[in-house]
């Protein structure tokens, strides 16, 4: 994603590495620091692929490069944006794997595992709900928190189903 974020930023105006780092951090609502080295490595790879090119090199001897997007880079950005985003495989759920293994191994209790998991989900849900409702926070963070809250609620409902179908008493 970093590659395409940089392409997006350069599409607006040519920038050098340091500007790109700041612009990216601002777009993320100031919640996360982006590694400077990672940006340079990525820019180098993009230059090699012909998606960006050096527009200007500063004269002050440190040789700071200003990058601009190429038409090839523009094509790549357009293609990526129009492409459907892929979700991780829906069944790739760490807790579900544990439940499966528990059944196979016959060790531990699904009820206990589910209760512990539920507690963790509820605590996380509380945290993201508080964040999502905090008017002092930037809209990006709140939007992400709302998304996380919806996922966690789905997870909690799914835990209920797991409990009902896997952990129900078998004596009837």
């Amino acid at each position: 994603m970093l590659t395409h974020a940089l392409l997006g930023l350069l599409r607006c105006q040519p920038m050098h590495g340091y500007d790109l780092k700041h612009a990216l951090e601002q777009a993320l609502g100031g919640n996360r620091e982006v590694n400077f080295g990672q940006i340079y490595t990525t820019l180098g790879r993009m230059e090699r692929d012909g998606w960006v090119q050096v527009a200007e090199r500063s004269e002050d001897g440190r040789g700071k490069k200003t990058y601009e997007i190429t038409s090839l880079g523009q094509q790549e950005l357009t293609r990526w944006l129009s492409e459907i985003a892929e979700k991780p495989a829906p069944l790739n759920d760490a807790f579900f794997s544990k439940l499966l293994v528990q059944r196979i191994a016959g060790e531990g209790s699904p009820q206990v595992m589910i209760a512990a998991q539920r507690r963790a989900y509820l605590q996380q849900l509380h945290a993201v709900t508080v964040l999502a409702a905090d008017p002092r926070l930037d809209p990006v963070t709140r939007l992400l928190a709302d998304g996380a809250a919806l996922h966690l609620q789905a997870d909690l409902h799914w835990l209920d189903l797991c409990e009902e179908r896997l952990a129900a008493p078998v004596n009837d």
Partner: protein, 246 residues
């Protein structure tokens, strides 16, 4: 351990309609301690509202006992149960149930009146309660001119009017958008932290996550519970949120 403020012992509620008996509550044992913030969570039809009505002396169980502060509800007269609802139990409804002809202030005042508070004190306390829920500016408005969140805040002020020992909330966020819902939950959280016992019924895990104790209900029975304590680590949560594919 102190005796619980409200307790049920093998309580059942069976509704009979045309020969078909519906078991809404099926043998629930529950004890809520004073000062607890307890959420009863379950899908619709899990019997959670029926249970809440039994706890609130609004309904009588088909079997079993409900004990409020050491008093067996079944042994109280209708008038005594009414007194209990007026003075010791506050109710918050999903649909707010404010009296539409009365202003915000009057809606709170009437609860004080039902609680037998003298007029002079009523005036001062109704205003103080509205200030507590941040609606003193809206005192003279009719409920119809208020947003859902504001109406529920009036309902909370009304429920708190007679300083009840137990506050019962039936899907308090059910008719609210998420922002207003969160505001109401924060308010209930503050009330609970002030030492008031709160028992809330909800199907919404977001609302339930504000409670100290989350009890799961399904098909009229309890299905386990979870204790949540301590404030969440916000910094850690923010970091986890930004585990994007960067």
């Amino acid at each position: 351990m102190n005796p619980p403020i409200i307790e049920t012992k093998d309580v059942w509620k069976i509704y009979g309609s045309n020969g078909v008996a519906v078991e809404a509550v099926r043998g629930i044992d529950l004890a809520v301690q004073a000062g607890e913030f307890c959420a009863l969570v379950g899908p619709s039809g899990s019997g959670k509202s029926s249970l809440l009505h039994l706890l609130g002396a609004m309904d009588t169980p088909s079997r079993g006992e409900v004990i409020f502060a050491g008093r067996l509800l079944a042994q109280l007269s209708d008038a005594q149960r009414t007194d209990l609802r007026a003075r010791e139990i506050g109710f918050i409804f999903q649909t707010f149930n404010l009296l539409p002809m009365l202003t915000v202030w009057e809606n709170v005042e009437i609860a004080l009146r039902l609680g037998g508070v003298p007029l002079a004190e009523r005036k001062q306390r109704a205003s103080a309660l509205l200030a507590q829920v941040g609606l003193q500016e809206r005192a003279r408005h009719l409920p119809s001119s208020l947003s859902g969140g504001e109406r529920q805040r009036v309902a909370i002020a009304r429920a708190l009017a007679n300083r009840p020992r137990l506050l019962l909330a039936d899907e308090p966020t059910g008719n609210l958008d998420s922002q207003n819902g969160t505001d109401i939950m924060k308010m209930l959280r503050v009330i609970a932290e002030g030492g008031q016992t709160v028992v809330m019924v909800t199907h919404d895990f977001r609302a339930a996550s504000y409670a100290d104790r989350v009890i799961l209900l399904r098909d009229g029975r309890l299905r386990g519970e979870t204790h949540l304590e301590g404030a969440p680590d916000m910094q850690q949560t923010v970091e986890r949120l930004f585990q994007l594919g960067l």
